[in-house]
Each structure stands twice: as structure tokens, then as C-alpha cells.
Symmetry: C2
Subunit: 297 residues, 2 copies
């Protein structure tokens, strides 16, 4: 049986987590950003992106990590901005950032494109990024560990609650399922001379439920389900829709995730296939669902 | 007692590891690169960079990861190229690459530098990178897992052996100490519904010893030691110098590693402090030690 939802576990995780650095500054920036975009009547989406790391040591050298380049979240951010949304981009430090995918291509030893072409690509990327930030449409907030991710998501969600239906959560980050509780953690780097190692991991409580029930219950909420085994993917995506009470679940299979995804909603399943990329039609589809959700009294 | 060195463990790891993808192409590129630089009489350094991940599942979604942005290796590559070396850059996919540090700065929401300044920085970075590749001075080889890292290091080291004393290894990658042997691994993503998880980890055999004894015994070899506990750092760095029989160990402490490092050699200890950065004087110092090593009959 699946471990059931316990508000106690959630409280315990937050209680024992290390204090968030710069919380005051982050909170101030968030409030300003949300307030301004709310006044302008913009829809606002919080996009989470990248893996989350669960430290094994307090002075962390080793951690348990979930696979995620952060590409899905970064590219989707570009399309949500294009679609008129303001975006809070909550991303794992050193994972992909919006407008950066072209940059990576400029540093490939591929002799087919000239230096001049590469420089033009980059100019365009820097300009688009800069404009979004300066016009107050894009706010980036970074995290490293699962503790920071959850604390920041709570902070953002509670602040976005005032937007009610105009708020969307697009939870593309690959959140750790397992972690070592802070209080059970070694202070320093675990020494390999002690020989083989056994790690005891606790389950990370499913925060989407708390987000839906407590932090921002009026918002439109999209979660992601990634599996490597295609035979269980759709079953698990449908279960997630009900269990977490979200508006859409994007089902991905690891090897085909850049070719197609299937969006599960209460109305059924919609297969979204790659155009230039998968993110463009996916964001378009979700924008429409969000519009219907807002218009539905 | 520290688990002692067993050639058997090394053989076992290589025997059970999944086959390296594209090995034939990589091998061909390597041979061409090394042969050409050897003919030109260039010194050649293999720089390893970034963390290594140890998968928990064969279709990997989760892995155990060592902290490393890859900055040390990426920036050192720039200085080794400046110093006239050819560089094989063996790096973790998505970790820092040479000439990219300025790029990251262009995507910071910092209003102090203009878009034009940012674009000029990037132009300069793309051009430097492009030149190094086109002139055949820089070869980049990427890896993801600890298995790929070790297989590639072995391939590179065996090929570099022909350079004898003109070869250097600058082993800045944060190599995993623990891993799940391939044969003990689950096929698919471990399901969180089963509840808390216990992971049994085996020790990764210390490959530096094999590199020094078998793969490239004539090369100049620099290893790195990172600790979070400053009270044991120097003791461990000195032990490493003798245990792995390397020519220099660069001792770093996690919190001060961008301010200073201490290089331990048979001649004693040398503290290297930040100038523009730590890497510039560090590479300068090691280049001199390498020159002495080559000239010493």
C-alpha cells in the first residue's frame, strides 16, 4: 500500500529543514513581482524546473539526485512568456535556463555553423532574456536541495494565492521521492575508508496535495509524471490526477519525452506530438485549458 | 582500515559495466588528436571535470551524485590552452565548459551591465572556444555515469601513454566513492509507493593507482582532494600523495576552494592564493613542476 498522506510528515520536514538563506530578499522580490503583474491583469505561472538533490551530509559533497536537465521547464518558460503570461521560474541551480538552449549549441565542436551565425544566435538569446527580466515578466528563483525547493515552492504558492484562478502551477521539476532527514545526517563528508555504505532513506511527503489544499487552492495546477516503464505510465498518470486533485497530468516516458507527451485531464487524454518541439503545442494546449478554467464559474 | 587496492575489483567493475556507446568514434578522434599534437611537440593534459553520477536504476532516473559545478576544470582548461598545452577535456555532461563562465553572467538579472556589453563578452567566448577546437588544441569528451567516466579515462590514458613525460593528468573531477554495481541494479525506476528505501553501496576502486601503474605510468599526475573538515584535509592530501604515487595533490576545502588551495608535492606544500582566480596561478605553478619533471633525466 502506498504510504498515505500525513500533514504531520509535511510539518516535520519543514520544522527540521535548515533555514532558507536570503528568505527576506526573496520574499520581497516575489511580493513586488506578483503584485505588479496582478495589477496589470497578467496571468501568472510558476514553473518548477530541474532535479532536486537530497544531501547525504550537512556540509554536502554527496547527494541523491533525480535526473532532469531542466530543458522542459526552461523551454516552456519561453512559450508561456510568448503567450502573455508572467513567469516565476523556480529552477535547480546549474540546470537549463530560458533562452539558453541555443547557447549550448554554440559550444559544440560542430563545424557546420560559422562563428558569425553562432554570435547572432546568442545576441538574440541575450536580448530576449534581458527584455523579459527588465519588463518584469520573468522572475528567476534558484534552489539546490529538496529542502530549499519545498520551502521556496511554499513561499511562492502562498503569495500567488491572491491571484486565485489567474495563477497556474506547472510542476516540471523532478522532485526527489526519498531523502535523508536533516537530523539524521552526518555533519561532514562521509569517509570512504570506512568501507561499503548503507543509506536509510525516508519518503518525501507529496507536497502537491498541500499546495492544492492549503497553499493555493484556487490555482490551475499541472503536474508531471515520468516513468521508464511504459506499461505503468498511463495508469500512474491517471491515479495522480485524482490523488493529487490536479487539473492536468503530463505523462512522459523517459526515452520518448522529447517526441511526445500525453496530457491527462478529467475530460480524457490528449496526445501532444512534437512540432518544432513538444513544449510549444503543450503550452498552447494548457493555456486553452487554463482559459476555460478561468471562464468557468 | 581502508579497503586495500585490489586489481580484481577494478577488473570486476569494468567487466560488469554497460558497454560504452560510440566507443569506436571516440577512440578514433582521440588517436587522431593525440597523434597530431604529439607530432607538433605540444605538451598534452587530460583534464577531468565535474561530478560523476552513480545510477540507482538501469533506466536511470535517480542517481547518487558528487557535488561539483565543473568550474575548476573548465577554467583551468582555458589557462592550460593559454600556456601552450593541448587539452583533452573529459567532463560531466551539463557541467561547466571552457569559456562558458562569462556566458552564465550574461543570464543573470543584473542591471549593471548593458546588453551590448554582454553580447561582446559572449562574442569573445565563442571565438576563443571555436579557435581552440578548429586549431586542434581542444578535444572535449563527455560522460554521465561513473561507469562511462572510468571507461573513458582508461581509453584516454592508454592512448596518452605514448607521450610519456609530455603527458599530464589533472584529475579535477569529483569521482564517486560509492556505487551500485550494475548487476545489483533495478531495471526500472524504483517506486516510492513501496515506502522508505535502503540502498547498499559498494566502494569504487581507486583508479588513480591503476592509471599510475598500468595505463600511463610515465605521465605527470595531479590529483585533487576535497574535504569539508579542514582539520583532516592536509593529512589526507599527504596520504594521497604517497598512496596513489602522484606528483602533486591539490588540497581544497569546500567553503574556501575559490580563494585558495594548497598543492602538496614531495618537495613540500605550496599555498596558492587567488589572483583573478585560483586557477591562473595554480596552472602556472603546475606547468613549472611539469617542466622540471620533463627536464629531469
Amino acid at each position: 500500500m502506498e504510504a498515505d498522506f500525513q500533514f504531520g510528515d509535511v510539518e516535520e520536514l519543514f520544522r527540521s529543514a535548515p533555514t532558507l538563506k536570503d528568505e527576506f530578499v526573496i520574499r520581497e522580490n516575489l511580493e513586488k513581482f506578483i503584485h505588479r503583474n496582478c495589477e496589470l491583469g497578467r496571468r501568472l505561472v510558476c514553473i518548477t524546473s530541474g532535479g532536486t538533490s537530497a544531501p547525504l551530509e550537512r556540509n554536502c559533497v554527496r547527494f541523491l539526485h533525480n535526473f532532469s536537465s531542466g530543458n522542459r521547464g526552461a523551454v516552456s518558460t519561453e512559450y508561456f512568456l510568448q503567450a502573455g503570461y508572467a513567469v516565476i521560474f523556480l529552477y535547480k541551480r546549474n540546470s537549463s535556463q530560458p533562452y539558453c538552449r541555443r547557447i549550448v549549441e554554440c559550444f559544440k565542436p560542430d563545424h557546420s555553423s560559422s562563428v558569425q551565425d553562432r554570435i547572432e544566435l546568442m545576441e538574440c538569446a541575450v536580448q530576449s532574456y534581458h527584455e523579459s527580466v527588465v519588463q518584469g515578466k520573468l522572475l528567476e528563483v534558484s534552489y539546490e536541495t529538496i529542502f530549499q525547493y519545498l520551502q521556496l515552492l511554499r513561499l511562492i504558492a502562498r503569495n500567488m494565492n491572491c491571484l486565485e484562478k489567474n495563477a497556474m502551477f506547472y510542476l516540471a521539476a523532478a522532485v526527489a521521492d526519498f531523502y535523508v532527514p536533516w537530523e539524521a545526517m552526518d555533519e561532514h563528508k562521509i569517509q570512504s575508508r570506512e568501507g561499503p555504505l548503507t543509506i536509510q532513506l525516508a519518503l518525501v511527503p507529496k507536497m502537491i496535495k498541500v499546495l492544492r489544499k492549503q497553499w493555493a487552492p484556487s490555482a490551475f495546477c499541472v503536474s508531471f509524471k515520468l516513468e521508464t516503464d511504459s506499461t505503468i505510465l498511463m495508469k500512474k498518470a491517471k491515479e495522480a490526477l485524482h490523488k493529487y486533485n490536479v487539473h492536468a497530468v503530463v505523462a512522459n516516458e523517459l526515452t520518448t519525452r522529447n517526441e511526445k507527451v500525453i496530457v491527462v485531464t478529467n475530460e480524457g487524454e490528449k496526445t501532444i506530438e512534437k512540432d518544432l518541439d513538444v513544449e510549444m503545442p503543450l503550452v498552447q494546449f494548457l493555456k486553452e485549458r487554463h482559459r476555460e478554467f478561468i471562464e468557468c464559474k
